[in-house]
C-alpha cells in the first residue's frame, strides 16, 4: 500500500468508529427521556466489548486462514502475526464488528437489561458476526468465493444485524403499551445530529472499503452521497403523500435507509444506479416500518424496517445494477446481462438471513435462560436510566 492508501484507510477507520456514537444519538433521540442514557450506553459500551472480542479471537475467526469456506482458523488468535497492512485491515474491520451489534440495540430499546445486552453482544460478536464476515468478506469465504459481492457490508452488517434484531425481539417481547400508548421520540434534534454523524462516518465505511485511495473509493464516496440523498427524498415524499406532512424523523430515517442500501453496491454501481437504489430504499423502507404494527412485533426503533429491508433492497438491486465497468471485481448485474450474479445475490440474502436469525434467536434464549433478558415491570415504567444506571439525562430546576 502507498502512504496515501494507508493514510486514507486509517482516516476511514476513525470515521467508521465515529458512527457508533452517532448511532447512539440517532437512537437516543428516538426513545423516551427516561431511557436515553441506557440507549447511549448500549451503543457506547459496545465499542469496548467488541474491541476486546475482536482482538482476542473475532478477527481470526473472520479473517484467519480459511477452513471449508465457513470460518477462519485460529492462526491470528490475539492478533498473532498480524502486522503492518494486515494490522491496518484488522482495525478497519474492527469498527464494522463494533457497529453491527450496536445496530441491534435499537430493536430492544427501553426494556432489555444492560447486563443482558453486554452478554448478548459479547456472544454475538464472538459467534455470529465473524462467521458472516468470513463468508462475505474473506476471499475464500463460501459466499465471496462463489461470486457474491458485498462491497461494504449490506449482507455482513445490515442484513445480519437486522435479522438478529428481529430474532431477539421475538424472545424479548414488546414494550409495555406498545401499539396502545403513544411512545414518542423525546428529542428529534438528537436524532438528526446522530444522522449527520452517521452520514459523515459512512463515507469512511463505504469509500474506505476500497482499502485504497483510488477511483473505486471515489466512486463509493459519490454513490454514498447520492444513495442517502435520494432515499431521504423518497421517504419524505412517500410519507407526505400518505400522512400529509413531511417529517424530520422521516428525512433522518430515509437518509439512513439510503446509506444502508447503497452499502453493498457503493463500489460496484454508477452514480445513476445509486439514484435508483436510494429512491427504492426510501420508499420501500417507509413502507416496511409499518409492518411491525400489522404483524405485532415491537422492533422499537425499526432496525428491521431500515437495516434489514434496506440491506435486502441494496443487495438484490446490486444483482441488477452491478457494473464490471465501474469495478472489474464484480460480475455484471441483470441489467447488463448477468442473470447468474443476480441469483447468487438473492441466495446470499436468504442464507445470511436464515443463519443469523437462528443463531441470534438461540443466543437470546441462552441469555434469557441464564441471567434474564428483560427489565422488571418497575424498571421499565420508572425508566432504565434511573433504575439500571442511577443517572438522569436531564436534570432541570437546579
Amino acid at each position: 500500500m502507498s502512504a496515501g492508501d494507508v493514510a486514507w484507510v486509517l482516516t476511514a477507520s476513525a470515521l467508521v468508529l465515529f458512527m457508533t456514537p452517532g448511532l447512539a444519538l440517532f437512537y437516543g433521540g428516538m426513545v423516551r427521556s427516561k431511557n436515553v442514557l441506557n440507549m447511549l450506553m448500549k451503543n457506547f459500551f459496545t465499542i469496548s466489548i467488541v474491541t476486546v472480542v475482536w482482538v482476542l479471537f473475532g478477527y481470526t475467526l473472520a479473517f484467519g486462514t480459511d477452513a471449508a469456506g465457513v470460518v477462519g482458523g485460529l492462526d491470528h488468535l490475539g492478533l498473532r502475526d498480524v502486522e503492518g497492512e494486515a494490522l491496518l485491515f484488522m482495525v478497519f474491520q474492527m469498527m464494522f464488528a463494533i457497529i453491527t451489534p450496536a445496530l441491534i440495540s435499537g430493536a430492544v430499546a427501553e426494556r432489555m437489561r444492560f447486563g443482558a445486552w453486554v452478554l448478548f453482544t459479547t456472544l454475538w460478536a464472538a459467534l455470529v458476526y465473524p462467521l458472516v464476515a468470513h463468508w462475505g468478506f474473506h476471499p475464500e469465504g463460501f459466499l465471496f468465493a462463489w461470486g457474491v459481492r458485498d462491497f461494504a457490508g449490506g449482507l455482513v452488517v445490515h442484513i445480519n444485524a437486522g435479522v438478529a434484531a428481529l430474532a431477539v425481539v421475538f424472545v424479548l417481547g414488546p414494550r409495555r403499551g406498545f401499539g396502545r400508548e403513544a411512545i414518542r421520540p423525546h428529542s428529534l434534534p438528537l436524532t438528526l445530529l446522530g444522522t449527520g454523524i452517521l452520514w459523515l462516518g459512512w463515507f469512511g465505511f463505504n469509500a474506505g472499503s476500497a482499502l485504497a485511495a483510488d477511483g473505486v473509493a471515489v466512486n463509493a464516496f459519490v454513490t454514498t452521497q447520492i444513495g442517502a440523498s435520494l432515499a431521504a427524498l423518497g421517504w419524505v415524499t412517500a410519507e407526505w403523500r400518505r400522512t400529509g406532512k413531511p417529517t424530520t424523523l422521516g428525512a433522518a430515517s430515509g437518509a439512513v435507509a439510503g446509506l444502508v442500501a447503497i452499502t453493498p453496491g457503493a463500489g460496484f454501481v454508477t452514480p445513476l444506479a445509486a439514484m435508483v437504489i436510494g429512491l427504492a430504499a426510501g420508499v420501500l423502507c417507509f413502507w416496511a416500518v409499518s409492518l411491525k404494527f400489522r404483524l405485532g412485533y415491537d422492533d422499537s426503533l425499526d432496525v428491521v424496517g431500515v437495516h434489514l429491508v434496506g440491506g435486502v433492497v441494496g443487495s438484490v438491486l446490486l444483482g441488477v445494477l452491478a457494473s464490471s465497468e465501474v469495478n472489474a471485481g464484480v460480475t455484471d448485474g441483470l441489467l447488463f446481462g448477468g442473470s447468474a450474479f443476480f441469483l447468487k445475490q438473492v441466495v446470499a440474502v436468504v442464507v445470511v438471513m436464515a443463519f443469523s436469525f437462528v443463531a441470534s434467536y438461540l443466543l437470546a434464549r441462552v441469555v434469557e435462560a441464564t441471567i434474564g433478558l428483560r427489565a422488571s415491570e418497575r424498571e421499565e415504567i420508572e425508566g432504565l436510566d434511573i433504575t439500571l444506571h442511577e443517572e438522569r439525562a436531564y436534570v432541570v430546576g437546579e
Binding site: A182, R184, P185, T243, T247, L249, S253, V289, S290, D302
Partner: protein, 112 residues
Amino acid sequence: MKLIIAYVKPFKLEDVKLALRGLGVSGMSVGEIRGFGRQSGQTEVYRGAEYQVEFVPKSRLEVVVDDDLAEPAVEAIQGAARTGEIGDGKVIVVTVDDVLRIRTGERGGDAL
C-alpha cells in the same frame, strides 16, 4: 378577593399577560402544564404511525385580584386567549379567604 385560574393555549399566554397588566394587575404565576378537555388531544405522526396524544401542552395562569377587578380580569383573559377553535381553555374563579405578604406581614387586599 378572587383567585382566577386560567388554562390557555401557550402561544396566547403573552397576550393574556399584557391584557391583565393593562387592568393594573400587579402579579401573577404561570406554569407549563399538560392536559385535555373537549379538544381531547392531538395527532402526532412518527415514521408513518399516527398517535393520539391526549395530554397536550397548556399554560396555567394564576392571579389573585380584588373583587371589583375579578369580572374585568375574566373578560380580559377571554378576550386575549380566544381563537374560536376547540381547545382555547377554561377560566376558573375561586373566592379567597385571605392573603399574606411574607416580607411585611400585610394581609388581605394590601398584600396583593
